[in-house]
């Protein structure tokens, strides 16, 4: 079996790795350089804390069980010369800073516990044991020991290197121009800026650009970019030990509001810098700097950690999350065009969900039952239908042929 994966980010890399380890012949096409888009524009979160019960949480829990396994496999395969992917299950602490915010946080945690999330309410004093520099004025705190982080660029490179060891081929600076259809109408390859590639299946894993790629292949997909910005401080003495969020992070992720939203997600990196994320804006692929966005990030960070006021912010960076209208990634075959598969729409959770996405897609493509029910993520799911229908373009129905 031959599979083309479009996109050299973490989803494409994880998918290529899972496929090639099953002996499938994989070709990855990246229009620029690998790890040049969303995968290098974020923080590397593997979060359970921000997800309520439901399909995305189940996918996250599945991914969470895979991470230590993949981390160990990668270290084993790539050896000590490969830079560390910095996988660390450092845990998260979600806090509320207002009186009104306390109860919803506890309620949400209780709900999460019913779904098996390790969500532990902690007293103010215990929260200050976990995070001694936290604003003591917090009104509630939940500890999520399962939250983890990874260095997303190194992780993607590691997945790529591993996939290559299993025989996957990566072509960079090669953009997909159009699909190649069989007489029966199935998608059997792609035409690119450098030539043609044939395959039994084509997986679109182009993150927020997946809509463009799908259109080049003849179909639309309602993926939209949602811009996020992160602030980076200079190195400082180690004072923030977990991923620390303010409670309204949860509400923001589930929202479709295009206007600026920010909530604090603060953590220390292995280099000793502190990352302060993140904003969410639906402004297309606009990369212009907006000081107001950075200012709001800083303001919220200071509410959690007042000491940060004296620290230097040295950089901001950002990326575009692939945003789906029904807030679920699409993983699986497109019902409209045989041969076309999707692996995108992870919003801000793509790093964390990458390994599960790759595993699930490889199972589906190989005809094996996935470890987790894949139906909720199918492009054919009901919640996506209203968004797909208006974009449907005529295509030959191979099943009728």
């Amino acid at each position: 079996m031959r599979v083309i994966v479009i996109g050299g980010g973490i989803i494409g890399a994880a998918t290529a790795r899972s496929l090639s380890r099953r002996g499938i012949d994989v070709t990855v096409l990246e229009r620029g350089r690998n790890v040049g888009g969303t995968s290098s524009g974020g923080e590397g979160n593997l979060l359970l804390s921000d997800k309520g019960p439901g399909d995305e949480l189940r996918l996250t829990q599945y991914s969470s069980t895979l991470w230590p396994v993949v981390d160990a496999e990668l270290r084993d395969e790539l050896g000590p010369a490969f830079p560390s992917v910095e996988f660390e299950r450092k845990g998260g602490v979600v806090v509320a800073t207002t009186a009104q915010g306390a109860q919803p946080l506890h309620d949400f945690a209780a709900l999460q516990r019913t779904a098996g999330v390790d969500a532990r309410p902690v007293s103010r004093d215990d929260a200050l044991l976990l995070e001694p520099h936290l604003n003591p004025a917090i009104t509630a705190a939940i500890h999520y020991p399962e939250d983890a982080q990874v260095q997303p660029v190194i992780m993607t490179e590691a997945l790529i290197a591993s996939a290559k060891l299993s025989g996957a081929q990566f072509f960079e600076n090669e953009a997909v121009l159009a699909g190649i259809r069989s007489p029966g109408g199935e998608l059997v390859g792609v035409r690119t800026t450098r030539g043609t590639h044939h395959a039994d299946a084509v997986v679109v894993a182009a993150g927020p650009w997946s809509g463009d790629v799908s259109e080049a292949l003849g179909l639309s997909l309602p993926v939209k970019p949602r811009r996020g910005m992160v602030l980076v401080t200079s190195r400082m003495p180690h004072r923030i030990f977990h991923k620390v969020y303010d409670g309204d992070y949860v509400g923001v992720v589930g929202s479709s509001n295009a206007a600026l939203q920010t909530s604090s997600v603060i953590e220390t990196t292995a280099a000793g810098t502190v990352l302060i994320g993140s904003s969410r804006q639906q402004i297309g692929f606009d990369t212009r700097l907006t000081v107001a966005v950075l200012r709001e990030l800083a303001q919220k960070a200071l509410r959690l950690f007042p000491f940060l006021s004296e620290m230097m912010v040295m950089r901001s960076y950002g990326g575009f999350r692939p945003f789906m209208p029904d807030h679920l990634p699409v993983i699986g075959p497109d019902p409209r065009l045989p041969g076309l598969w999707h692996a995108t729409g992870h919003e801000g959770a793509g790093i964390g969900l990458s390994v599960a996405t790759g595993a699930m897609l490889a199972d589906l493509l190989a005809g094996a039952p996935p470890a987790l029910d894949a139906a909720p993520f199918s492009p054919a799911r009901a919640s996506l239908a209203p968004f797909l229908a208006p974009f449907l373009t005529p295509f030959p129905d191979s099943r009728a042929a």
Binding site: H238, F241, G272, E310
Partner: protein
């Protein structure tokens, strides 16, 4: 020998006598002239290095001297990350040298009672 402040009496441009200032560097008094940068005071006193690097714990002092390289960072009166080559020293300044160790990847803290399971 090492870096030094050229005495005005030997100076071909004959600068006017400036008033002296004294700053404390990690508690040690160091004398300089009004208008000097903190880096200038340190170099003038023969001190070449003050910061300790995070990864290899190596000594660093001035490299670019014009505020570009950030090698000369010090804490001044409790304020971190001040470029010593850019900040003029004021009499009585308290300067501390910086060493920011890289964070250790620690095992997660178990809170008392947490090991019993999910609350």
């Amino acid at each position: 020998m090492t870096s030094f402040l050229l005495p005005p009496s030997d100076d071909p441009i004959r600068p006017a006598e400036a008033s002296g200032i004294r700053i404390a560097v990690d508690g040690r008094p160091v004398d300089g002239l009004a208008g000097q940068s903190i880096a200038g005071v340190l170099l003038g006193s023969g001190t070449l290095a003050w910061r300790t690097t995070s990864k290899n714990a190596r000594p660093r002092g001035v490299f670019c001297g014009i505020g570009v390289c950030y090698d000369c960072l010090v804490e001044v009166n409790g304020q971190r990350d001040v470029r010593a080559c850019q900040r003029r020293a004021a009499d009585g300044d308290t300067v501390s040298t910086q060493y920011d160790a890289l964070p250790e990847v620690a095992e997660p803290i178990e809170l008392p009672g947490e090991a019993d399971g999910r609350a």
